[in-house]
């Protein structure tokens, strides 16, 4: 199966389940804005993780509690940041899709290891370590 065809199919499939997604926010994290912001508006002190070529460019970042990570999508393919159930709350959390040059910021309040992935591209995986 081609990557492109697979992606289209998977996006379709995910769109069908999107209505069931629950945006459960927990105290472990705070989301700056529910909708993506322009990349230029990323917080000055945020740790930046760029997204390019179907990858999170920094697959592992280590921060302190209270620090913010900002993801910036640098390509036309939309991407997001999503956590499985039990990582940042009881329910799963699918962040909004970022288009090119959009950003999405999360402040991590508690120590721990937060594995995440891209919802329509589950092979895109990375983690934030808070210690």
């Amino acid at each position: 199966m081609t990557f492109a065809a697979k992606t289209r199919t998977l996006l379709t499939a995910l769109a069908l389940t999107a209505l069931g997604t629950q945006m459960a926010l927990a105290d472990k994290i705070s989301i700056l804005t529910e909708t993506p912001a322009p990349a230029a508006e990323a917080p000055a002190d945020a740790v930046i993780v760029n997204i390019a070529k179907m990858k999170y460019e920094t697959p592992e970042v280590t921060i302190k509690p209270g620090q913010t990570v900002t993801w910036i999508n640098t390509e036309a393919m939309p991407h997001n940041v999503a956590f499985k159930a039990g990582v940042v709350g009881d329910a799963k959390m699918d962040g909004a899709m970022m288009k090119k040059d959009q950003s999405y910021s999360i402040t991590f309040n508690e120590a721990g290891t937060y594995a995440y992935h891209c919802t329509p591209h589950p092979f895109m995986k990375a983690k934030v370590i808070v210690e």
Partner: protein, 447 residues
Amino acid sequence: MRASFVGAGLTCSLLALSAAWAQTPTPAEGQPPAAEAPAATTPAADAAPAATGAAPADASATSAAPAGGQTHGQRAAAEAAAALAAGEDDEPVILDAPAPNSRRVYVNDSAHFASLTQQFAIDTEEGRVIGMTDSGFLPNPVVSDDGSVYAQVSTTYSRISRGEREDYVEVFDPVTFNPVADITIPPEGHRFLVGTYPWMSALTPDNKTLLYYQFSPAPAVGVVDLEGKAFRRMLEVPDCYHIFPTAADNFFMHCRDGSLARVQFDAASDAEPQVTHSEVFHPEDEYVVNHPAYSQKSGRLVWPTYEGKIYQFDLSSGEAKALNTIEGLTEEERADNWRPGGWQLVAYHRPSNRIYMLVDQRAEWTHKTPSRHVVVINADTGERIARHELGHGIDSVAVSQDDDPLLYGLSTGAKTLYIYDAETGEELRSVNQLGHGPTVISLSDMG
């Protein structure tokens, strides 16, 4: 047991109604009409509704082809008229389907992503519908090679297409079509909702376990214990797709990096599955289709590319042994824009070791449009045996696994299953009105 015209017409049995649909008649040959009756002058064979309400004299009969140019509906009407004239009482019954055989197929109508769907069980020797099952959103049908297990992995919602989602596995008795198991899949095991790929769900060879794919939030395979009628667990797997079981605890997948993954698992424990990868077998710009053919009985995996190259593996040993890669189209054909296309576009006939692949002249990136031809290829040598013109735009192809096989061509647009002699390509009969957009043919390899 006889179910006469009026009585069976009054029953609510879908079996009775569907079995009575008129089908394209077999050319006149064989036995004489069952009875003299005015029904011989009933409307043309393709006027299906004309026969609605008429029932077969005995739907469990597996006798010879329709007689003397009559449609099933005409014959049933004649028999019913004769029974009425003879003063026989009508005794409505719920009919059983005949026992599964190598010429039964199940046609899955995913109905263009409709919330509710149907599967049609068809006796292709007779060219008639012998049963139906209902299902939810994008179900995955599975059928065992011995015909004993017919199941589907399905999804429903509490308000048709919204509300609470429930995934489940339903197993049916293949004669009565009553459900014999209904196994709930918990939310963490919710399955991949996708246009029906037959090998996104599969039975292990012992028919005791059903495996299904989960795409999100991460690649995984669900394990359902059919024998114990219980969901067991999810297996975390690499970034791989499709499921080709080779043993009760072993299956293969195709991975994004172009390799095959072998997955060994223990359904009863929480142990992580053991995963090993084959060599990368195709380059990144060679696109393999979503509908490979897999013979569980022989372990042969047949996987075409968009351009008609066919990769093959022998998985029977539990290791992925690459077989010779062949070209399904000649150099001249490829230069003349011949490419495979359709939905279930390749079939493998185990007894003769032949590959059937839907092909047509088409532009690149039209690989999901129907094809009007099927090429027949020696799987070992790649030798072209035949190219049959099918006479219709065909989306899915399958072949019965007996020694004198039937070739099946399913048209999603015409909602019709065309039944051919696999050797000559001659169209023998057809079954129409198969839902809204049928796409997948499933059958048993009973040999």
